[in-house]
């Protein structure tokens, strides 16, 4: 057994313990924190499994933004405990049968790290051998995400945009009007204010690095958007929502969210107009590889814009809710 495999198994065992504690506890805040711990541990598992881009995303999204949003939502809901009577019998039976079938299925899985596994036989070798040459992008994850599977990513970006619209629609009109809640005012503590003031520029700079260096190293629009949003949310947490809104008015955020989707689709249409297929970036420049690289850069920028503005808009929508869950 290799060291990596042992590490993976240990981390998975930790996560299982956390999940057990999660199932037993009826404190909802503890449940959110345990889910965050599971998420962070899974980011470590992804790193061990060489999925650096995924680890990055999971750490920023699962352990960061998801935990924050859940805590915010808990505050709005005004619920602390899951006090209702839990069923035990039927769920346990279903889990037993379902888990048994899945365990039976694992017998046919290839061994961990098997280079001859079926997943390595189809398109992956082509991506790895030709991806860097065909797109000019050494990070194959970025190349596949933005170019080879550009249609998928476009669809997913639209899903994120639509989900953001859904949140805004559901939470519209029930926000705080006039008087701001105390949560809105931010944190008056001088240590927190000074540290955050110093830290936020670096977070934003790092997000830009992740955005534009995603072609050459781990990163890309999804991660950069979330990290940029995290920087802005940190600013809003410390200095209050009004200060953030002075920098980024909600109307501008909504415009940015749409601009990202529009940019992605626009690159596709530009390809059509230049005589190629939708999202076939090769026609964007004289040289096919330059065109690919340019297209990838632009659509990743569109992804980053939409993800960033949707995340900040969602945070803002939850923060503006009246606390306690009463009408």
């Amino acid at each position: 057994m290799s060291v990596e495999y042992g590490l993976t198994l240990t981390l998975l065992a930790f996560m299982l313990l956390a999940a057990w504690a999660l199932a037993r506890s009826d404190d909802l805040l503890a449940a959110v924190m345990l889910a965050g711990i599971i998420s962070l541990a899974s980011a470590a598992v992804f790193t061990v499994m060489d999925a650096v881009d995924v680890a990055f995303t999971e750490a920023a999204v699962g352990a960061g933004v998801a935990t924050l949003l859940s805590v915010r939502a808990l505050g709005v809901l005004g619920e602390r405990r899951a006090a209702g009577r839990a069923r035990v019998g039927l769920p346990f039976l279903v889990v037993l049968v379902c888990g048994g079938l899945l365990l039976y299925g694992t017998a046919d899985l290839p061994a961990y790290g098997d280079p001859a596994a079926p997943a390595m036989q189809h398109v992956a070798p082509h991506y790895l051998a030709r991806g860097g040459v065909e797109t000019g992008v050494p990070n194959i994850v970025t190349a596949v995400l933005a170019s080879y599977r550009g249609f998928d990513t476009f669809g997913e970006l639209v899903v994120i945009f639509t989900a953001g619209l859904g949140v805004l629609t559901l939470l519209a009109g029930s926000g705080v009007s006039g008087a701001r809640s105390e949560v809105d005012a931010g944190d008056r503590d001088i240590i927190v204010r000074q540290v955050v003031k110093w830290l936020v520029p670096f977070v934003l700079l790092f997000a830009l690095y992740v955005q534009f260096h995603g072609d050459y190293g781990p990163g890309g629009g999804f991660q950069a958007g979330v990290i940029f949003a995290a920087g802005m949310v940190l600013y809003a947490l410390t200095f209050g929502l009004p200060r953030l809104e002075r920098v980024l008015p909600p109307s501008r955020l909504r415009l940015l969210a749409a601009t990202g989707v529009w940019l992605y689709g626009g690159v596709g249409v530009a390809c059509l107009l230049r005589g190629g297929a939708f999202l076939d970036y090769a026609v964007l420049a004289e040289d096919a590889v330059d065109g690919q690289h340019l297209g990838i850069l632009l659509v990743e920028l569109g992804v980053g814009l939409t993800v960033f503005s949707v995340m900040v808009l969602i945070y803002r929508a939850f923060t503006r809710q009246r606390h306690g869950g009463v009408e």
Partner: protein, 106 residues
């Protein structure tokens, strides 16, 4: 890499792991929230610091070492701030520090 630097690197990593372990031990064994926070705080300053120092020694003068130094810098700024915020939030919530007067409590 010379054997001395390698030895120093492993010594730093080993010590860092020990500090992290003792931090986790303290988190489970200390009597109240504030002292447990103290144990946890050691993990991400001294513990992570020593591990990162060891990794920097192993990386030598390279871009990786510079990145590790940056991680160390940000961990040292954000970790204590997080501890401070936690302690303040607990105080704000009315949690009294344990003084040993009324025996052990959680």
């Amino acid at each position: 890499m010379s054997a001395v630097v390698d030895g120093l690197a492993w010594a730093a990593i080993g010590l860092g792991v020990f500090v992290c372990f003792s931090g986790a031990f303290g988190l489970l064994r200390f009597p109240d929230f504030y002292s447990r926070l103290h144990a946890a705080g050691v993990t991400d300053t001294l513990g992570a610091g020593l591990v990162l120092l060891g990794l920097m020694l192993q990386a030598g003068w390279s871009l990786a070492a510079a990145k590790l130094a940056l991680i160390l810098l940000f961990a040292w700024v954000s970790g204590p701030t997080a501890s401070h915020v936690l302690a303040r939030a607990a105080r704000h919530d009315g949690l009294e520090p344990w003084t040993g007067a009324e025996g052990r409590r959680r």
